[in-house]
């Protein structure tokens, strides 16, 4: 077991068990800021934990960050771990982050698809989906980023359970998705929803299911462009910014489309860096540079959300 967050290697890939154990260490070291909450169980009955960063109050305006909904995108879970530690250690040291946490809460789901993540460690490193079973098919798993109730079943999702973009039998059929939906709805005061994916260096905003501009498109575009400028200031990594539909492809049932449509204006999705040679097999020595640069963009979005209440 990792005995201290100081001895934990943030520049390495870890198993689910190690990350869950590290969460306990983080909580133990920052008891007045961080709590670990179980938001439900996965299809294979693994607990799903969010780290809640809060300095008090009840249902304060909050920011949601999830990573690893596509299990093979390992740099996202690793970036999530680094980021959670960064938030905990910078509170009280970084004036801006401290002021944010004095008025808002941050919820982080570092392993949004725990069954898939374990499967990538034990059976198939290239697994992307959940591990649920469907009657009438030998193939398992739905794409949890095609399963949200936002244009569900529309273009850019498959109805074939054997494909990687299978949308599942119905919206929120995947318990991993439903658990997040339940938390967001019961809380009722999320102001930002950020999903972290990898790879291809993109910062996206809604919609994916439609190529029409959302009402807040100019503002989201400008926030996104400023965020990626900050990101690029560290290592020069170049990001594209735009709606999902316009900068990659039309895709229905995505998480940030759902969050935007339920009223969470500042909804964004990241596609983190690749070096152009490794895809999902990004070497571990790239984890910390990726996390560091991503933090600059994330922090810009968080500060903007803090400064623009609605």
């Amino acid at each position: 077991k990792e005995r201290s967050t100081r001895s934990f290697d943030f520049g390495a890939y870890h198993t689910l068990e190690t990350i869950y154990s590290w969460m306990d260490t983080l909580v133990a070291q920052h008891p007045n800021l961080v709590t670990k909450q179980e938001i439900g169980r996965s299809y294979e009955n693994r607990p799903m934990y969010v780290l809640k960063f809060s300095t008090g109050g009840s249902k304060r305006p909050a920011i949601w960050i999830d990573a690893g909904i596509h299990s093979r995108e390992w740099v996202t879970q690793a970036t999530g771990v680094w980021t959670a530690n960064k938030i905990a250690t910078d509170y009280g040291r970084d004036t801006s982050l401290t002021s944010l946490l004095n008025t808002m809460d941050i919820y982080m789901l570092i392993l949004a698809n725990p069954d898939g993540y374990v499967y990538t460690h034990t059976n198939n490193r290239m697994w992307r989906k959940t591990r649920s079973k469907f009657s009438g098919s030998v193939c398992r798993g739905a794409d949890p980023n095609r399963n949200w109730d936002a244009g569900f079943g529309g273009p850019g999702a498959s109805n074939n359970p054997c494909l990687d973009t299978y949308h599942g039998p119905s919206a929120h059929s995947e318990i991993e998705v439903k658990n997040v939906v339940n938390l967001i709805k019961s809380h009722g005061n999320f102001k930002s929803f950020i999903s972290v994916h990898a790879y291809s260096q993109l910062l996206m905003y809604p919609h994916g299911y439609s190529c029409n501009n959302v009402p807040d498109q100019p503002e989201l575009d400008s926030v996104g462009k400023a965020a990626v400028q900050k990101l690029a200031s560290l290592y020069g990594t170049s990001y594209k910014v735009g709606s999902i539909c316009k900068i990659i492809y039309q895709a229905s049932g995505g998480s940030i489309d759902w969050s935007y449509d339920v009223g969470i204006k500042y909804s964004f999705a990241f596609e983190l860096r690749d070096t152009g040679r490794y895809g999902f097999l990004l070497p571990a020595n790239q984890i910390i540079p990726t996390a560091e640069e991503t933090w600059l963009a994330l922090k810009h979005i968080l500060e903007y959300v803090r400064d623009h209440p609605y």
Binding site: M126, Y249, L281
Partner: protein
């Protein structure tokens, strides 16, 4: 564990809308069991495809036949996975 010995990941630097259409047709070709890491959507974005060893020659022939240029970015996926696993075990120790 599933192994990926001999699987390659190829990158297509898409040149035209016509290339996109040929690649989309390839995407629909289920028997080759291709895994599109980056999907064909526009001439502005590259396409990355993990090609199982058993489909390599067919896929490369298809691309050559349609004059679509590609490079191999991962020559043998299993080698990279073995390196990743060894590194993780070392870190764990």
């Amino acid at each position: 564990e599933r192994v990926f010995v001999g699987d390659q990941v190829i990158r297509v630097n898409v040149q035209s809308e016509e290339d996109v259409q040929f690649l989309q047709a390839l995407e629909a070709q289920q028997e080759w069991e291709l895994d599109f890491w980056l999907h064909p959507v526009s001439p502005e974005l590259p396409v990355d495809i993990r090609v199982p060893r058993s489909s390599l020659s067919a896929v490369k022939e298809y691309l050559h036949a349609h004059n679509i240029h590609f490079t191999v970015i991962i020559d043998n996926l299993q080698e990279l996975l073995d390196e990743e696993k060894a590194e993780m075990e070392e870190n764990q120790m």
